[in-house]
């Protein structure tokens, strides 16, 4: 299905050519970096050993590779290698951290604090714990997408055992005040878990400076393979203990049983090593591309809205609402570009994005939203192509939009009696 196209600038002049379709949905997943794949390949065939085999070379080789990866991951986030537990990905890491702490510290308390904009892997884990008698506080966020430290301070009580707040949001890319949240938790003697899936390798993350006790990581958002991740579990000040959620052979010091996914782990390690080396340059380049996309759109379209703060945001993220244009119809018009929308029409439940709703935006703004996730392999020519295509399609759809016409005529949409039963 791939073709090539020539991006044109606003004067209609041809620029560099781009290959279609364009992938610009790097918060959903990323392609495996060829250098990561190359590091992984030997561990499928020649070096296929079980890292738990203690008495032959195949096992030793595998163990060596796993320990090397542990070092690479630890180094990227300022941890020690013994603090890294391998899992099948961030969904498992989030479950293990939250359920593992809840079970281990249930004598101490039964209260957990999280935020309304967390990933479902965190929210649904908390929901399940509520069924088991735990109490969960879901902190609101401001229009900027950030939690308020005073809200958090007020929410902590003597039964609170865990605060879980994500590092960077997967839809709007906003970065929470993690170090301050962690400091507050430590002052109050409460453990702090952070789902750092979107932040790792994109912005500097350091578990010591950020006062993090448990942290979820996944490989497939940082140009590694799918189905492998890790949980950081702090070993000192404080020493964190968790109850295993998967029982078996006692791998990973009893915290997560199961034969290790050696090629996957090697890939995760290599992805972290590359991120460590390339993050300073790469984040500058991504921010440049993102800002270029943003300013092109802003220069050529009116009635657009940026969701969440631009000040504390991942360099590759842009989440924008093209007001009076419905998101799915926009995606249909740009079908050679892979991005995503918070519109209800794109979701199986016909509910608009809960993250955008938590910002206090009207549903109509959520319906018009598009998330751009610019990544390592996107080029300037691709950004220009995407900008042009979005501009053309939004203009075309606004010609079709009764709301845009009404607003341009000076009608206040809020004053109209809409029939909102139904959906």
């Amino acid at each position: 299905m791939s073709t090539t196209a020539v991006a044109t600038n606003s004067n209609g002049n041809a620029q560099a050519s781009v290959k279609l379709p364009i992938y610009m949905d790097n918060h959903a997943t990323t392609p495996v970096d060829p250098r990561v794949l190359e590091a992984m390949l030997p561990y499928f065939t020649g070096r296929f050993g079980n890292a738990a085999s203690r008495n032959h070379q195949f096992g030793w080789e595998a163990e060596q590779a796993v320990e090397n990866a542990r070092e690479q991951i630890a180094k990227l986030v300022g941890a020690t290698s013994k603090e890294i537990i391998f899992t099948s990905g961030a969904t498992e890491s989030d479950n293990l951290a939250i359920k593992g702490v809840a079970e281990m510290y249930k004598e101490k308390g039964n209260h957990i604090i999280t935020a309304a904009t967390e990933h479902k892997a965190v929210l649904d884990t908390c929901k399940r714990l509520e069924k088991y008698g735990y109490r969960v506080t879901y902190l609101p966020v401001g229009a900027d997408g950030l939690v308020n430290l005073d809200d958090l301070r007020r929410a902590i009580d003597d039964k609170t055992i865990l605060v879980t707040i994500m590092y960077a949001n997967n839809e709007i890319g906003v970065i929470q005040p993690i170090a301050e949240i962690g400091k507050l938790c430590h002052e109050k003697g409460v453990l702090f878990h952070s789902d750092a899936v979107q932040a790792i390798g994109k912005v500097p993350v350091n578990v010591i400076k950020d006062n993090i006790d448990l942290m979820s990581i996944t490989a497939h958002k940082i140009y590694g393979p799918k189905g492998v991740g890790a949980l950081y579990v702090r070993r000192k000040s404080p020493r964190v203990q968790i109850t295993a959620q998967i029982d078996g052979g006692g791998h990973e010091r009893g915290m997560r049983s199961g034969t290790l996914n050696v090629p996957g782990i090697v890939g995760l390690g290599k992805a972290c090593a590359l991120a460590m080396e390339e993050m300073p340059e790469e984040s500058k380049r991504l921010a440049f591309l993102r800002d270029r996309l943003k300013s092109k759109l802003e220069q050529n379209l009116d009635e657009i809205h940026i969701n969440g703060t631009m000040e504390h945001r991942l360099p590759g993220n842009l989440n924008m609402s093209f007001v009076y244009v419905e998101g799915e119809s926009l995606l249909m018009g740009i079908n050679d570009i892979a991005v995503s929308s918070g519109s209800a029409c794109t979701s199986a439940t016909l509910e608009p994005s809960y993250v955008l709703k938590a910002l206090g935006l009207g549903d109509d703004v959520a319906h018009s939203s598009i998330r751009f996730g610019i990544g390592r392999f996107n080029t300037e020519a691709e950004v220009d192509y995407v900008a042009d295509k979005i501009i053309d399609t939004v203009k075309k759809l606004r010609e079709l939009s009764p709301l845009y016409e009404m607003v341009k005529e000076g009608i206040d949409l809020k004053k109209i009696q809409w029939a909102t039963e139904g959906h």
Partner: protein, 139 residues
């Protein structure tokens, strides 16, 4: 999601996009849906007062591709029909013609609602300006 060729065709070449003069006695306007729900359709008809035939129809839609296609198709179908005949158009006919999947049925319902609302508006206007005509329609 994969769209049917007909949905794509209406999306790429929407028929009868535009606006009629809503203050005209001959024009009926239906505005249905709500911005919070992600779909708003405006369908307008222009009726010949002698023959009751819908001579022109225009639409504008805020909604997904299926909603755009449903309303575009609705304008094609009402044109040339009498008002009463247009009221027999069912959302299920639209679903069938456009091969809409189950999650998109409500987009076709909205198009049927828009046709009814436009005709209702036109009828109301006849009630004000020419009561006899309403009787004729009813009878």
């Amino acid at each position: 999601m994969a769209y049917s060729d007909k949905v794509i065709d209406h999306y790429n070449n929407p028929r009868n996009v535009g606006t009629l003069d809503k203050s005209s006695g001959q024009v009926g306007t239906g505005l249905v849906g709500a911005p919070e729900c992600g779909d708003v359709m405006r369908l307008q008809i222009k009726v010949n007062p002698e023959t009751q035939v819908i001579e022109d129809a225009k639409f504008k839609t805020f909604g997904c591709g299926s909603a755009i296609a449903s309303s575009s198709l609705a304008t094609e179908w009402v044109k040339g029909r009498t008002v009463d005949d247009a009221l027999t158009i069912k959302n299920t006919d639209i679903v069938k013609e456009l091969a809409l999947p189950p999650v998109k049925i409500h987009c076709s319902v909205l198009a049927e609602d828009a046709i009814r609302a436009a005709i209702g508006d036109w009828k109301k206007k006849q009630g004000v300006t020419a009561p006899a005509a309403v009787e004729a329609v009813k009878g």
